[in-house]
Structures are given as structure tokens and as C-alpha cells.
């Protein structure tokens, strides 16, 4: 082993949860001062390996070396003391305190229990200057943009002199321009000798940023190589274990002319203040994409469309030619609306209930599931679920399996199967592939295109610009609750759209 160059090394790590082998013989090493990407589908074991490295899990077998020395953590505190630091996907910030407070909170400890705010601030400012990271001080962090919050998370680690930084899906919440800035910062940090591990599923970013990449599949490391000379499709097939197609489904028929959805000067109630007045149309056989960085009114738009009775102040909202302004959300569903909710775990599923109960959710009053008018027909439910599980490849397909134990991809397939079961005329697909593996993404995209082909209208709200570009016939850019741009498919221009998403002018 070249002791000098490898900053982190994992050897033969094995971690078992119950009967599930999350990591088996995981070995890889990371060079000091490099940016190392860890890629793999959901459930491939990359998070488990990172948690082992960070001291959150104790490995069942295997060894960890940091800076050439064998270590064994009792808790993350040991790992932190040894110079490791982690930026979690969901930030760990005290929202009502400012950056200085948060940084000091993370650093902990002080002479005689007296906090030295002044010094902390000076040091933080010098770090910000050194690594070109801007964040407003003196403002509660929950009022800052997501990009700033993330920078504070990184500053927390720099402040306590972490030399090894682990970032979990750092670009998930950022606009394209912010991503560029983050990458520049990370490169600067690597150049100054920090070692950076980045967990991601966006292979394009791996190619753009990293020096080396380790690929996980089914709990094992299936590839470790320098990024130079690797291609996205090569990494993707390594990740999935077979070739993956990236095409958009061949020829497209032009959308129909019948209106599925129309909003005209639709003004949301005050509670949804992040969203301005909305006017747009969606036609049969059309996918209308809504691009935008998260937090620019997408959630509010969904709430407006789903609960017009509570959330529409004034203006026109019509579905298939009928005004639905005063309707309850159940009546909207009866009128042909279906929804892939934005937040799968909190809004789409009853995690503690069985798959078949989750499949029933929303359809529980359908006459097809009733016997004698009052009793649920478990037999036809089970039959329908079995058919859907087969068709949508939900694993495990046992009706009694608890939804919370399924992988993200399978949970989402369950949601997709349920929502498409009613053959909706209007599908509101919000973040349809968030936290979902590549195979599931392919299959969900295929379903959405299929629905479009069958003459339904789809409103696709996604913070993944690639996804919107791939699927949409037309695209709106949402920024601070307003539509700031509209593009037809042939006019799609990633750069222009990215600029609008970040609040610039095209």
C-alpha cells in the first residue's frame, strides 16, 4: 500500500441488517487531496458504507484506515475528532440562529465555557474568503437560500478543521449556476489538500467534478477507476449491471388540441404566498414541464391544483372544460385527476401499512372494491394489486409487505401503479423520480410517456432539469412563484433555462 497517498481506505467491510446484507467485501481507497465520487443506485449500499466510515454504524467485519492508520470508531464523535466531516442531504442547521451560531454549535467546546463570538466571526469570514463561499452572517439561517445553507454546512466542517469531507447528494437542491459555484469551491478545497467524498447519482456531475469514482451495486464495489476516460453510459451500465438507454422514446405525435387543464389568472390564497397568479394551459396528449429550483412555488402550485376549494382565491381553474374551482380534492380525483405527490414518504404512502392498503388509498370508495355497498372487497383488491405488482414490477410483490420496508424505487412504483390505475385524464407528476434508482426512473418515464400517448395531459413538476427536458413537450420556468419563461420542445436551451431558473434574464 502507498501509505502516503491514500487518505482513506476501507478493506473488506461487511455490514448486515437482520437478513439483509447491506455491504459485502467493500474495499476502496481515496487519495489525499482528491475528489472521489461514490455512485450507485438507491439501496446499493453506498450510504451504509459512508455511515460505517463516519462511525454511525459499526462494521460486522473489515477494517478502516485513515491517513494510513487503522481506526475503529465508537461513534461519529471519534470520526469527527479524526478530521472527518459530513454534509447530510437534509441539512442539520439550527434554523433560527445565524451562521456564526451554527458554526460554533458544531465546533463545540470553548475555554471555560465562554463563547468567543468575535473570534469565531473573524475566523469564519476568513474561511469564506479563502474558499470563495458567500453566506450572509447575522441572519437566521432558515431565511437564507438553500445554496447559502449548504455553504454554511460546509463552513461548519472547515471551521473545525475537517480534512476529509463527505457530501451526500449535494446538488439535489441547487440551481445549475449554484452547482457550478459549489464545484469551483470543492475543487479549491481539494487543491488546498482536503479530501472530498461525494455521494451522488448524477453521473454527469461525476464526470464534471471528480478525480476518481467508486461504483456500488447490490452492496458490493463493482468498479473503481479514475474519472478521466470514463463516460456516463459506461458508469451507468456498471451501476445497473446492464446497458441503459438514454433516448426519449423515439418519434412523438404532436399534442392534441383539447384542453385538459386551464388556469387563467388563478390567484392562490394568502397562505400560499410564495406562488403568484398562474395562467397556463395543458392539452390532451401533452406533457407540460415546470422547471425551477425547489422552493420557488412548486409545492404551492400543487396545493392549488389539488385543493382548489381551500386554496384558490380567485380566477379560473378548469379541468376538461369544467370549472373545478369549488371542488374538494376527492371530487377532483373523480373528475380524472391523479397525482404523484412531491414528498413520497410524507404525502404518498402509509409507511406502516401493507402494500395492498397503500394501493387502495384514494380508491377506497370505488364501487369495484365494495361488497354489499359497505364492505371492502379484499379479494378484488388483492387481485388488482397482484396484477399491478406484476405489471409495474414492484418488489417484493407480496400484498402484505409493509410499504416502509420497500426501497425508494419500489415505493414510487407502487405510487405510480396506484395513481395510474384509475386511467387519469390529468396527471400531476411532482418529482416523479426523486430518490429512485435508474431502472425505476426508466420505467416511470416510460409510464408517463405512455399516458401522454393515450391522450391524457401531464403536468410534470421536477427540480431535475434533465428530466423536464427529456419528457416535456413544452416547458415553463418557475422562479419566485412566477412563470418567467416558456419554451416549446424545439426551443429547449439548457443554458437559457438554467439562467432563468437562477433568476437571471435569458
Amino acid at each position: 500500500m502507498q501509505k502516503n497517498s491514500s487518505q482513506i481506505e476501507l478493506r473488506g467491510i461487511r455490514k448486515v441488517f437482520g437478513e439483509v446484507v447491506a455491504n459485502e467485501d467493500v474495499s476502496f481507497s481515496v487519495r489525499k487531496g482528491s475528489i472521489h465520487a461514490i455512485v450507485g443506485e438507491n439501496g446499493a449500499g453506498k450510504s451504509t458504507a459512508m455511515k460505517v466510515l463516519y462511525g454511525q454504524y459499526a462494521p460486522d467485519a473489515g477494517e478502516i484506515f485513515v491517513g494510513g492508520e487503522k481506526v475503529s470508531w465508537r461513534s461519529p464523535a471519534d470520526a469527527i475528532a479524526a478530521g472527518l466531516g459530513m454534509v447530510h442531504q437534509h441539512f442539520m442547521l439550527a434554523g433560527c440562529h445565524d451562521a456564526v451560531d451554527n458554526v460554533m454549535l458544531a465546533a463545540g467546546g470553548s475555554a471555560f465555557g465562554v463563547l468567543d463570538y468575535k473570534n469565531a466571526r473573524v475566523r469564519l469570514e476568513s474561511l469564506m474568503k479563502e474558499f470563495h463561499m458567500e453566506a450572509r452572517l447575522g441572519v437566521p439561517v432558515d431565511r437564507l437560500s438553500v445554496g447559502e445553507q449548504q455553504r454554511i454546512e460546509i463552513l461548519k466542517l472547515l471551521y473545525r478543521d475537517s480534512s476529509i469531507l463527505i457530501l451526500d447528494e449535494p446538488t439535489a437542491v441547487l440551481a445549475p449556476s449554484e452547482i457550478d459555484a459549489l464545484f469551483a469551491t470543492l475543487r479549491g478545497m481539494a487543491a488546498s489538500g482536503k479530501t472530498i467524498l461525494i455521494i451522488t447519482h448524477k453521473l454527469k456531475e461525476v464526470i464534471a467534478l471528480a478525480d476518481a469514482v467508486t461504483v456500488f451495486r447490490a452492496g458490493r464495489v463493482v468498479g473503481e477507476r479514475p474519472v478521466k476516460g470514463s463516460t456516463v453510459s459506461e458508469l451507468a451500465s456498471l451501476m445497473v449491471g446492464r446497458n441503459v438507454s438514454f433516448d426519449t422514446g423515439g418519434e412523438r405525435q404532436p399534442p392534441g388540441s383539447d384542453l385538459v387543464l386551464e388556469l387563467r389568472a388563478a390567484q392562490p390564497v394568502k397562505k400560499l404566498e410564495r406562488l403568484g397568479s398562474m395562467s397556463f394551459r395543458l392539452h390532451a396528449g401533452e406533457i407540460l414541464g415546470v422547471a425551477g429550483v425547489e422552493g420557488n412555488g412548486q409545492t404551492e402550485l400543487i396545493q392549488l391544483l389539488l385543493h382548489p376549494r381551500e386554496n384558490l382565491e380567485s380566477g379560473l381553474y378548469s379541468l376538461l372544460g369544467n370549472s373545478v374551482a369549488g371542488l374538494r380534492s376527492r371530487e377532483l380525483r373523480d373528475a380524472g385527476l391523479a397525482l404523484f405527490p412531491e414528498d413520497r414518504l410524507n404525502e404518498a404512502l402509509l409507511l406502516s401499512e401493507s402494500c395492498e392498503d397503500n394501493f387502495l388509498l384514494g380508491h377506497q370508495r370505488d364501487s369495484g372494491y365494495r361488497r354489499q355497498g359497505v364492505l371492502l372487497d379484499r379479494f378484488s383488491l388483492r387481485a388488482d394489486f397482484a396484477r399491478a405488482a406484476e405489471e409495474f414490477d414492484i418488489r417484493p410483490g407480496t400484498p402484505q409487505a409493509i410499504a416502509g420496508t420497500l426501497s425508494g424505487g419500489n415505493q414510487q412504483k407502487l405510487v405510480v401503479a396506484r395513481e395510474l390505475a384509475s386511467r387519469p385524464r390529468f396527471l400531476l407528476a411532482a418529482q416523479p423520480t426523486r430518490g429512485v434508482d435508474i431502472v425505476a426512473i426508466e420505467s416511470i418515464h416510460a409510464r408517463i410517456l405512455e399516458l401522454r400517448q393515450s391522450g391524457s395531459g401531464v403536468l410534470l413538476i421536477s427540480s431535475e432539469l434533465d428530466e423536464v427536458l427529456k419528457l416535456s413537450d413544452r416547458l415553463l420556468v418557475l422562479y419566485r412563484g412566477r412563470v418567467v419563461g416558456s419554451f416549446l420542445r424545439k426551443e429547449f436551451d439548457e443554458k437559457k433555462i438554467g439562467l432563468l431558473m437562477a433568476g437571471g434574464h435569458a
Partner: protein, 347 residues
């Protein structure tokens, strides 16, 4: 299915541990644990009369346990069963006194219906406050218990006091309102106060199970409890469902009047309930809010209640309070067994 068995196992484990600890306390006090246990068992199930009394105690606990469980499945904590059942029992008696000459085949059900309506109304209030005003149902049900107690004592003394007695109670209801006159169950148990109310309570428990797990409305109610947001996203009117759930909880608590008034003493006495509403919380907890389980856990609590009666006489040191201690230990141990399941996944 194995999840169900696991939770059953945990309940039994907690139960055994709780009783074991209680008997250990008796041992520390200087009594033989086996003797204490045999006294309790004999007193609860020793004779037809004992069994009848145990069933009588268990009946209201089934209803209040169901009341707590139904609210719980909708994601709400009903601590107000005590207030609901008191007002309901009063309404039941008042209705019977107000319409004395109904035919016997309908009279008890008319009175019971009035009681249930009152209970439902009293349960609906905190449901409405929670869903429309956002004030927490735990606080509100507790406060409504006090209001109910005050209302009941005021109403008794002001309107329905029986002038021939000193105690705050109503006059006897008419014979036509008594289950006893034709109740086959009461005949079975002779002098014991058991009545048709017990099999009816079991039947209601089964009905509630069917409702919760086999009807669309029960499904919606449970969905509101497991994930409010997902339920709303799926088009379920969470506010309305929860209001109905609380009304149903109140009506179930109101059914206590069936065994206590119509099947029992035949009049409303102030303070007739030895806190059935609160013991119902423990009953539901022990049964993990499963309606069928509630039948058995109510029987257990009923048996402990009845069984403790002879402890004062038959043992040297321990008193009937041991029953309360055992009840408390059982609850703690069952909660402990539940927490034990949650452990062990981290490392």
C-alpha cells in the same frame, strides 16, 4: 400476520412481567405470591356470581377501551371518555324518565340511543375544536371532563334529583327500560349484575373491528391516523373524518349506560363510574388498540378489579390496592415491551 403475532406476544410478555412484579411486591410484603394469585383468581372466577361480577366490570371497560382505540386509530387521543360516558348516562336516564311509557321492546334502545347521541356530541366538540381551530384534543378532552362533571352534578340536583333519597341520584326508571325483565344473560348469572350488555359489548367490539378493517370509512379513519398528509393528498377529508371519529368515540363511551343503567341499577347515580373512562385508556393500550384484544384486556382489568375485593380479607398483609399496583405495572411493562421492539436496529 407475523407482525400481529409479534405484537400479541409482546402484550403477553408485558402482562406476565407486570403480574409477576406485582406478586413479587406481595412477596416482599410477606404474603405468598401463589396464595395472592389464587385469591385473585378465585375471587374473579370462583363461582357463577364471581364470574358475573367480573363480566359486569369488564363491560364498561370494553366500551371505553373501544372509544379510546377508535380515536387513536384516527390519530387522536381521547382522554374524555369519562366525561362522555357521564353525560351520556345522564341523558340516557333523563330520556327514560321523560318518556316513561314506551313499549318494553324499544324502550331500552331509545334511551341508549339518546345516551349515545349525547356522548357523540360531547366527543365531537374536541374533534371540531381540533380540526377547525387547531386546539389540542388532549387538553380539550380533559377540560371537557371537568365541564361534564360539573354539568352532571348541576343537572342532577336541579332537575332529576330523587326527592326520597339523600344521595344525588335520579328516580328509578320504568320497568320497561330494564334489560333485566327479559335478559337471558342476567338470568344465567342470578344475583350477579352481569347483563345482556356484556355480549352486546363483545358484538360491538367485533363490529368496530369490521368497521375499521373492512369498510372504506374505517380505512379512511385509519389513514388519517397513520399519515394525515397522505390521507389528505389522497382526497380524504381529514377534518371531517376526525370529527366523525371523535363522535363515534363519544358514542361508544356513551354505551357504558347500557350495562350500568339499563342492565344494572336502573337509575343514574352521581359518581357511578370508578373512572371507567381512564381505565379504558389502559385497556386500549394493553390491547394495542385492537378491538378484539380490547375484549380480553377489559376482561383482565375487570377480573383484577373484582379479584382484588377479597384481598383485604384473605391475605395477611396486602390490601385490595395491590390490584391497582398490578394494573399500573402491567401498563408500564407493556409499554416497555413495545419500546423494546423499537430498539436494536441501530448497531
Amino acid at each position: 400476520m407475523s407482525r400481529f403475532l409479534q405484537s400479541l406476544l409482546r402484550s403477553f410478555l408485558g402482562l406476565a412481567l407486570g403480574i409477576g412484579l406485582g406478586l413479587l411486591l406481595a412477596y416482599v410484603q410477606g404474603d405468598s405470591p401463589l396464595h395472592v394469585l389464587s385469591v385473585i383468581v378465585k375471587s374473579a372466577f370462583g363461582s357463577t356470581f364471581d364470574i358475573g361480577t367480573t363480566l359486569f366490570y369488564a363491560t364498561p371497560l370494553i366500551f371505553t377501551g373501544l372509544s379510546v382505540a377508535v380515536a387513536f386509530h384516527a390519530g387522536l387521543f381521547n382522554i374524555g371518555a369519562e366525561g362522555q360516558l357521564n353525560l351520556a348516562a345522564l341523558a340516557c336516564s333523563a330520556a327514560a324518565l321523560a318518556v316513561p311509557s314506551l313499549p318494553g321492546w324499544i324502550a331500552p334502545f331509545f334511551a341508549l340511543g339518546c345516551g349515545c347521541l349525547m356522548g357523540a356530541f360531547w366527543g365531537w366538540i374536541p374533534g371540531w375544536l381540533r380540526t377547525r381551530r387547531g386546539s389540542h384534543e388532549v387538553i380539550n378532552t380533559i377540560m371537557l371532563n371537568f365541564i361534564s362533571a360539573a354539568l352532571v352534578s348541576w343537572a342532577i340536583t336541579a332537575y332529576w334529583q330523587n326527592p326520597e333519597v339523600q344521595n344525588p341520584e335520579t328516580k328509578m326508571l320504568g320497568e320497561n327500560y330494564f334489560l333485566r325483565s327479559w335478559d337471558p344473560v342476567a338470568r344465567l348469572f342470578g344475583d350477579a349484575p352481569a347483563s345482556l350488555a356484556f355480549p352486546l359489548a363483545v358484538f360491538v367490539a367485533v363490529l368496530i373491528w369490521v368497521f375499521l378493517w373492512r369498510t372504506p370509512w374505517g380505512f379512511e379513519l385509519r389513514a388519517c391516523g397513520t399519515n394525515e398528509k397522505a390521507a389528505a393528498t389522497a382526497g380524504i377529508d381529514v377534518a371531517r373524518t376526525r370529527q366523525w371519529a371523535m363522535a363515534l368515540a363519544g358514542a361508544l363511551a356513551g354505551c357504558v349506560a347500557l350495562g350500568e343503567i339499563l342492565g344494572g341499577v336502573g337509575k343514574f347515580r352521581l359518581g357511578f363510574s370508578p373512572e371507567y373512562g381512564f381505565i379504558g385508556i389502559a385497556v386500549a393500550l394493553l390491547a394495542r388498540n385492537h378491538p378484539i384484544g380490547i375484549i380480553f384486556s377489559a376482561l383482565l382489568f375487570g377480573a383484577l378489579h373484582k379479584g382484588a375485593a377479597d384481598l383485604d380479607i384473605e391475605t395477611e398483609h396486602v390490601t385490595r390496592d395491590l390490584s391497582l399496583v398490578i394494573q399500573a405495572l402491567v401498563i408500564l411493562c407493556v409499554a416497555l415491551a413495545g419500546a423494546w421492539k423499537g430498539r436494536g436496529s441501530r448497531r
